[in-house]
């Protein structure tokens, strides 16, 4: 287990830099994580990130892109606009969750 200093705090991350401890995350940290990957968080980003956090807490798994759109109600197109190129991984990173494992 590696740690990284993010927003002045010691945070547990995996080898790639994804957070590994659900409870170490807060919204202040998310702002820094988003900044790390060049994303300016809008209200819409926050809605999506909060959905990811809540869904993970309930199911113990990071929702896939399909789940974020089908269950969360955020259109696929919009996810690609807000989190360009690799939306599933970027959302997970900012939400302090592991990469999603599902295929679809």
């Amino acid at each position: 287990m590696t740690t990284a200093t993010i927003a002045g705090r010691e945070i547990h991350v995996d080898a790639e830099g994804f957070l590994t401890e659900y409870d170490e995350w807060d919204e202040e940290l998310a702002k820094q994580l988003a900044q790390n990957i060049g994303i300016d968080l809008t209200d819409r980003h926050w809605e999506i990130i909060r959905f990811l956090r809540a869904d993970y807490r309930e199911n113990g798994e990071t929702p896939t892109l399909r789940r974020v759109s089908a269950v969360g109600g955020f259109p696929t197109k919009e996810l690609f606009q807000l989190f360009p190129k690799k939306p599933a991984k970027k959302m997970a990173y900012i939400a302090g969750l592991p990469k999603p494992k599902g295929c679809v």
Partner: protein
């Protein structure tokens, strides 16, 4: 070899400048063989990779408005179902097997074929129909799913996929 000059990189590398490109040739029209191209193309798009699907021969059933909602799976002649082969030919067996497979797919949260195609288009994927197959089956653009960008000849497909990794299904 290790060096001590650098801290390990702790921001994930989202490798956004990839020029990787993938093209899937979907040549089958059965329910079970419709999914591989859809799942892989969708995964590629989620990784920021340019993805194309070229529907040819029976694969056109996946984008034909008349058939796309009604693809079937049959255990007949498919030893991988591990059912006695005689059973596969019984009346109603294809309908039952199709129903079961659709249920299993839905339980995984995976959409049906038309919705999956729309999801791929929304993710920036490109859908193409094969000209010779469309001509054989008497299909024009109006007969095809709206997300299909065009009907391409084999040559046009080869030009379009210059530098792509091509996967035939």
């Amino acid at each position: 070899m290790t060096t001590t000059e650098q801290e390990p990189r702790l921001i994930p590398d989202f490798g956004e400048d990839t020029d990787r490109k993938m093209a899937f040739i979907a040549s089958k029209g059965t329910l079970d063989m419709a999914y591989p191209a859809l799942i892989m193309a969708n995964a590629a798009l989620g990784e920021g990779i340019e993805a194309h699907i070229f529907f040819t021969f029976w694969g056109l059933d996946m984008i034909n408005k008349k058939t796309m909602h009604d693809l079937k799976f049959t255990p007949l002649g498919n030893p991988a179902t591990h059912m006695p082969q005689g059973l596969g030919g019984l009346p109603g067996m294809t309908a039952m097997a199709t129903h079961m497979m659709k249920k299993q797919i839905a339980e995984l949260g995976v959409p049906e074929v038309p919705e999956f195609l729309q999801m791929i288009v929304d993710a920036g994927g490109h859908l193409w129909a094969c000209k010779m197959s469309a001509d054989m089956m008497g299909l024009g653009e109006d007969d095809l799913f709206d997300g299909v960008e065009g009907i391409l000849s084999a040559t046009e497909f080869i030009e379009l996929t210059d530098g792509a990794q091509i996967i035939f299904i």
